[in-house]
């Protein structure tokens, strides 16, 4: 019999993570036609040209002598090679010819890139990615920083080899603004809106990403003039947390204006909120530096502790190592020596936290063998980890404890204590008991996830689960998607439509025509930790519930607290057919 808890968990997580990964009707059509020999999507070129290319390839030195730039190598060699092949990857020999020609013309591909790794291992590589890698070498690895001209040319090459259906990257033409005019327009719009002075070109302080593309409009037959969109984003390289963005149409009419200032301050309303914000800023707490732990300790000092873990964090006395103490690196090295890992060749996951045990500053070091270099087939089960406490000043190992990863029964065990890695051992015994409140909608309570019923539901209700009846979602997904109350739904719709109108205009839905709204809703009970419920709303407004070829998607993450007040943590509004271009 299956381990149903594990099976459910695997299906649920993989399906959630991969929910955006699906085949389009067009792709399935292509699968069929390719399989049955119907057609090949790749562009074909006349036989005569193939012969010319063959001649060129046998005379690679002729190309080298001409001192070609990367564009010429792509245009004269990489693209014709791709067009002449039925496959979508270059053979190793073709790759060798390309790389040789590039090198002879002074262009070097990144040795760490996948293409070079494939080449060094004697393999070929995908045409599309190979050309992209050449462009990285020529224009820089950050595609967003490519010029309008580079973006257009690259897209043109992708169309030429059949990788892309069309080129949506435009070049200014006719009455269009020139690139300098558009840059000036962007800087002026942001100056007026935010009072910020932005340069015309990237400099030490500002990185500019610019684009000129055919944007999406509800009217599929809209003209180039109606669809052309300029986009400019300015990234503040110095602060790293101050970005501006503006987009406007071909006539200069403003479409969107945006400013992001990330985490100007940490939300200090609760210990968990502080933890969340610091994790957003610094990454998961297992990776925090001692400075972050010290900041955390300071921020939560006077906040109410409503859970055991919150109390423990609050009383751990996080601090910077005192003067003359071991550095965190030295503490880790001391712990490795203690555990016999001083010369270990594999990968040890470890972190050091400086906190206070009584009056004594100590390092908490957690160590886990993640991968042993000698264990090439990963036969060992690395099911233990160690937590050590060291005197900050001397490095003396005060305590050393071993723990098992494997709680009996389930992958997830919400009650398993993991605090031993983060607070002094002595504190664990002193922590007060907190009420163990049951989650209102735990996975344990929900029915088992009956994935095998999904094909039947798809057959009956279509592939787009946004429009499945709630009871079908219940039946297939066993309670993963929740039933909102009418009041909750009305409030969420109010938030969603307001955001939609704000971004796309008050007539956004009217313009769509005969639209419908679909919803996926999840409820995550967080009363135990934070005395709140998280409501996730994923609305789909569209006239095409079968394929979502038009319309809007609005996602909301809403926190509702026990006292009734709400907080909108995330709100995104986008076109529904983003995935389909």
């Amino acid at each position: 019999m299956k381990n149903e808890v594990m099976a459910r968990q695997v299906r649920q997580s993989l399906n959630a993570t991969l929910s955006g990964l699906s085949t389009t009707p067009w792709q399935r059509d292509r699968f069929y036609l390719n399989a049955t020999g119907g057609y090949k999507v790749k562009k074909r070129i006349p036989l005569g040209l193939i012969l010319v290319i063959a001649l060129l390839l046998t005379c690679a030195t002729a190309l080298a002598a001409a001192l070609l730039g990367p564009r010429e190598v792509v245009e004269q060699m990489a693209v014709p090679m791709a067009q002449s092949s039925k496959q979508e990857n270059y053979t190793h020999e073709e790759l060798e010819q390309l790389i040789t020609t590039l090198n002879e013309n002074g262009i070097t591909l990144d040795e760490g890139s996948r293409i070079m790794q494939a080449f060094r291992a004697g393999h070929g590589y995908w045409e599309q990615d190979t050309i992209r890698e050449i462009c990285f070498a020529a224009f820089g690895r950050d595609e967003r920083a490519w010029s309008i001209d580079q973006q257009h040319w690259y897209a043109e090459m992708m169309v030429e080899i059949g990788a892309w259906g069309r080129n949506i990257y435009l070049l200014p033409e006719g009455e269009d603004m020139t690139v300098p005019q558009a840059r000036a327009r962007a800087a002026e719009a942001l100056r007026q809106a935010y009072g910020v002075e932005l340069p015309a070109e990237s400099n030490d302080q500002w990185q500019i990403w610019e684009s000129y593309i055919l944007g999406w409009t509800p009217d599929a037959n809209a003209s180039r003039e109606d669809r052309a969109r300029w986009g400019f984003t300015y990234i503040n390289r110095r602060t790293g947390n101050d970005d501006y963005s503006v987009s406007f149409d071909v006539r200069g009419g403003q479409i969107d204006l945006w400013r992001a200032q990330y985490l100007e301050r940490i939300d200090t309303r609760s210990i968990d909120a502080v933890l969340d914000d610091l994790e957003r800023r610094e990454g998961v707490l297992t990776q925090w530096r001692v400075e972050t732990w010290a900041e955390f300790g300071g921020l939560i000092q006077n906040l109410p502790a409503s859970t055991r873990s919150a109390w423990l964090y609050q009383h751990a006395g996080y601090r910077l190592p005192p003067e003359g103490a071991l550095s965190p690196e030295q503490a880790l090295a001391a712990a490795r020596r203690e555990m016999g890992f001083a010369d270990f060749g594999g990968w040890i996951e470890e972190n050091a936290i400086c906190c206070t045990d009584g009056d004594r500053p100590i390092y908490k070091v957690a160590q886990r063998v993640f991968y042993d270099a000698a264990d090439v087939e990963r036969r060992a089960v690395y099911d233990v980890f160690w937590v050590l406490e060291l005197d900050c000043a001397t490095g003396e190992v005060l305590q050393k404890r071993q723990y098992s990863y494997l709680p009996e029964g389930d992958v997830y065990d919400p009650d398993r204590d993991i605090m031993m890695s983060y607070v002094p051992f002595s504190l664990l015994e002193r922590a007060p008991q907190y009420e163990n409140r049951q989650s209102a909608l735990s996975l344990e309570q929900s029915a088992l996830f009956r994935y095998e019923q999904e094909p039947g539901a798809i057959e009956k209700y279509g592939e787009v689960m946004y429009f499945w009846p709630q009871e079908v979602l219940d039946e297939v997904y066993g309670g993963v998607y929740a039933h909102p109350t009418q009041a909750e739904y009305d409030r969420a719709m109010e938030i969603a439509t307001s955001a939609l109108y704000e971004k796309y205009g008050a007539d956004a839905l009217t313009r769509l025509g005969d639209w419908q709204v679909g919803l996926l809703h999840r409820r995550i009970d967080d009363t135990r930790e934070n005395n709140r419920v998280q409501l996730d709303w994923d609305f789909m407004f569209t006239t095409d519930p079968d394929y979502l070829s038009d319309g809007y998607r609005v996602q909301i993450i809403q926190m509702v607290y026990a006292d009734g007040h709400e907080e909108i943590v995330e709100l995104t509004v986008e076109h529904a057919n983003m995935g389909n271009g």
Partner: protein, 175 residues
């Protein structure tokens, strides 16, 4: 989609039906195996080319379930694709980040578990994908992999242990 139940279906109709019914399942399985969307799409295409070519063999196979048969082709195709050593260097975290936007809410634990599955050694990943993710039976999983049931059971046990290790060991998502 049981071909035996509809004997009058042509090869083209059968393939077309299979493509509609199983392309997403195959694409997702290939993606989890290869950690590269482009290559997963190619592997899916290759699976259908092979399925078309060998469709007549299906009736003579010991494998009863067409989905299991197709997944066997898909997994073997993935094995062929990732035979090169360079494949070990793929950043699976980045691969997940490059996925199209999810249609459902994804929690950190979902990402952790997906990544943990993708990081499993091939033989353990296969049993998790077939038995747990695709919902095949133990026998179908064994047939798909060309192994006996006891081997599948052993691998499952080991795969579960590895997943637990990976998920609970880091404790990154727990507070």
């Amino acid at each position: 989609m049981d071909r035996a139940a509809v004997p009058s279906m042509s090869r083209e109709q059968t393939l077309s039906g299979w493509i509609e019914a199983y392309s997403d399942a195959i694409l997702k399985t290939c993606y989890l195996y290869l950690a590269d969307r482009g290559q997963a799409e190619d592997a899916t295409q290759e699976t259908w080319v092979k399925a078309w070519k060998h469709m007549d063999d299906f009736e003579h196979e010991s494998i009863a379930n067409e989905k299991a048969w197709l997944l066997r082709i898909a997994i073997n195709t993935c094995k062929d694709i990732r035979r090169g050593g360079w494949f070990q260097h793929i950043d699976r975290r980045q691969a997940i980040e490059e996925l199209p936007p999810q249609l459902t809410a994804v929690e950190p634990k979902d990402l952790s578990l997906t990544q943990a599955v993708m990081e499993l050694p091939g033989r353990y990943k296969q049993v998790i994908l077939l038995y747990y993710f695709q919902g095949l039976t133990m026998q179908e999983t064994a047939d798909t992999l060309g192994a006996v049931q006891s081997t599948v059971q052993r691998r499952l046990k080991k795969a579960e242990a590895l997943l637990r290790t990976s998920l609970t060991g880091g404790a990154a998502y727990e507070k």
